[in-house]
Amino acid sequence: MKRSNKLFGISAIFNSPNEIIHAAKVIADYGYKNFDINTPYPLHGMDKAMKLKPSKLGYITLAFGLSGALFAILFMFWAMSIDYPQVIGGKPFFAFPAFIPVAFEVTVLLATLSTVIGLLTFVFGFPNNKQSLHDTNYMKKVSADKFGAVIYADDQQFSELKVKELFSSLNASSVELIYYFEKESYPIFQPKFLMLLLAVAVVTSGTTYFVLNKLLFMTPFNWMVYQDRLSAQEKSEFFSDNYGARPKVEGTVARGFLPYPFAGQNIPTETLVNPLLPTKEVLKLGENKYLSFCSPCHGNYADGDSRLRGQFPNPPTLHSTRAREFSDGMIYHIVTYGQNVMPAYESQVTREERWAIVNYIRALQRAKNAKESDIKELQMGLLDASK
């Protein structure tokens, strides 16, 4: 690196920590403001000897640390309480204790990053890459085992003679004149350097990709995603027609779905006997299924008062004499096979559930048309109202 004729500073080398602290004191007492001490490791008491003011870097750290905490809390407040509130573990949307660790981490992250970047920028002149002390014998020595002082030429009191005198009175060895580099600044972001960065990025990511995805590829944990069975509607190479979904094999019945033998026939209903007794459980099941499947048209109490508001013709009430005189098997047949505009419910409701619905309809019918004896029994507490 070529150097100009302009003097940058005068450096001197000392042999021990005590000497350099003494030298720093003397230089500072002499009135020099613009000087520096370089040592291979930090020396206790150096700040005081050099009469350095406390560093301003702390304020940057504080400001960024505080804004990190604030940002983290505000962001979590927005994300967790406003934008996408979700109940997590029964905690409130603004779950402050849970935010503290994150806020702490962001605080530390921003504080440290800002300290490092602040240090690089304000102390080391980033993005300038070179300082005239570089590539000197002085720098080689003080970064190994010697202790150095350098007084810069732009100090107000600077004069070459006086500084040399001062150093020799301090018994310094190898006093050296240091000149500026020819160019004023060497910005770190030169095209060459940027190209290098780009090349390094491409090579590293490319190598990583090749090594991890091609060379050393191992099947990741995916045996829950890819299973041998077929998903619904999935194509299958196994069958000649490539349909994964197969039709029923002739002559077989799905589990729990006995086919209804009287579909499309005009009812031998007496042969269909209700297999269920009207126990509490059966009626509960019947109520449940009735309310799910029947009540939209027939109404909650089988009055034929649908909630459909005319979108579908209302069925007649089930409390008519005709309906009450239906046998159980008849109702079962209608539920299973459908009647007039009522569709069949064979596929939605199982056989047992249909019989439970029949029982429930019977209970509704009896409740609407109760006999006097029923009321008396109820008053005497003999009839359980819930049945």
């Binding site: 700040d47 005081k48 573990g89 029964g90 503290i100 660790p101």
Partner: protein, 393 residues
């Protein structure tokens, strides 16, 4: 290591220090006894707080001595005697504990065998929480601490006369043994005296919580005495602000440590929200206790944190004196917060103020008593010169 040639003349501490100690101790004792006859249960719990206060400062100081030896610290050598004097409260603990041992039934729920017999959880814990084993543990722990105190301080005092460097080495070994022993014994102490006040509750981090509180309290007491003695000219003249900076930095670190541990304990319990754990915090969040809980966060963490954040603040004697008194007060609140919510309903009693005076007075008296017997500077320590030359970078 090399011999040092430090000139030091022993001076007596000012008389009004011992007077202050006697006044506080006497007033606390008399008013405390009166309080005992008006409200026995409350006075006993307050005495437990005072006892734990003395204990935490004593054992915290002994730990700091051990840390100095093990870590090879130089800066703390010139002030080590202050720490030693404060740790000497340990030898009074076996006497101070007697009123508590005699009233286990009044303090601890688990000491009633008829209650335990009806309670499945307490029955399961009774192999640990029973009177005989409790008393054995209490005195065994105090005996172990007394032993280590005796050995460490004996070596340190002997070094003043013989200037034997080997004694430092012996103390390093002793300290290395003491630190794990300390970890176990302080956990036992915290669990026995504080956690078992609520025998149904458990928290695995509780020992560390008490440890962090006691270290920050003893650091505050040390700083207070060091700044006070330095201002009156009793410390070595070469002891300067740089040494105070180290004390301030340690205080700052342990304020953070306490907050970290306290929050860890709270957050895990808050997150899991299990009824067998969370009732302890719920107790401290109702009936007026929530204000004390918030005060604890502010007094024990936020104020000391803000006051000690900057570098100049850590070496400013005025600031350090103020914040040390503050932290000691906060430590008292911490203990109060641990103990008192076990009394049903919140109410404030004058007994709460008078009993802690015993602790403060006693610490001053013990300090004064020990200062008469030993040098205030460990003049035989080979690291003393290096310690006095200590400078903040």
């Amino acid at each position: 290591m090399h011999q040092n040639n430090i000139e030091y003349q022993k001076k007596d501490l000012p008389k009004n220090l011992s007077q202050l100690g006697w006044i506080l101790f006497g007033a606390g004792l008399i008013l405390g006894v009166i309080g005992f006859f008006t409200d026995q249960h409350r006075a006993l719990l307050n005495y437990l707080i005072a006892y734990m206060f003395i204990l935490s400062i004593g054992i915290g100081s002994l730990l700091l001595i051990a840390l100095e030896y093990v870590g090879g610290a130089d800066w703390s050598v010139p002030i080590r005697r202050v720490v030693e004097f404060l740790s000497s409260t340990i030898i009074f603990l076996p006497i101070l504990v007697l009123p508590l041992v005699f009233s286990i039934h009044d303090i601890f729920h688990w000491a009633h065998t008829d209650v335990v017999a009806k309670d499945e959880i307490l029955k399961a814990k009774s192999s640990y929480l029973n009177e005989a084993f409790f008393i054995i543990r209490v005195f065994a722990v105090l005996a172990v601490w007394g032993l280590f105190y005796y050995l460490l301080i004996r070596n340190s005092n002997a070094q003043d006369i013989t200037k034997d460097q080997l004694l430092t080495k012996k103390n390093i070994i002793l300290s290395a043994i003491f630190i794990p022993v300390f970890a176990i014994t302080i956990t036992i102490t915290a669990v026995d005296w504080l956690m078992s006040l609520e025998p149904h509750w458990f928290s695995t981090i509780f020992g560390v919580y008490f440890f962090s509180g006691s270290v920050i309290a003893s650091l505050a007491a040390i700083t207070l005495f060091v700044v006070f003695l330095k201002e009156k000219g009793f410390m070595h003249p070469k002891l300067i602000d740089d040494h105070l900076f180290s004390l301030g930095a340690l205080q700052f670190a342990f304020v953070n440590f306490w907050a970290y541990i306290a929050f860890s304990q709270y957050m895990l319990i808050w997150y899991a929200n299990l009824p067998e754990e969370n009732f302890w915090f719920l107790q401290r969040w109702e009936n007026g206790w929530q204000y004390l809980s918030i005060l604890l966060i502010i007094a024990h963490f936020i104020v000391p944190y803000a006051a000690l954040l900057s570098q100049p603040a850590k070496m400013d004697p005025k600031r350090l004196k103020f914040i040390s008194v503050w932290i000691l007060f906060a430590h008292f609140i911490d203990l109060y917060w641990l103990v008192m919510p076990n009394v049903n309903g919140y109410y404030f009693s004058l007994i709460d103020i008078v009993v802690p005076l015993i602790a403060v007075g006693l610490i001053i008296l013990v300090f004064n008593y020990r200062a008469k017997k030993s040098n205030l500077v460990p003049i035989g320590d080979p690291k003393l010169q290096k310690g006095l030359d200590f400078r903040v970078p």
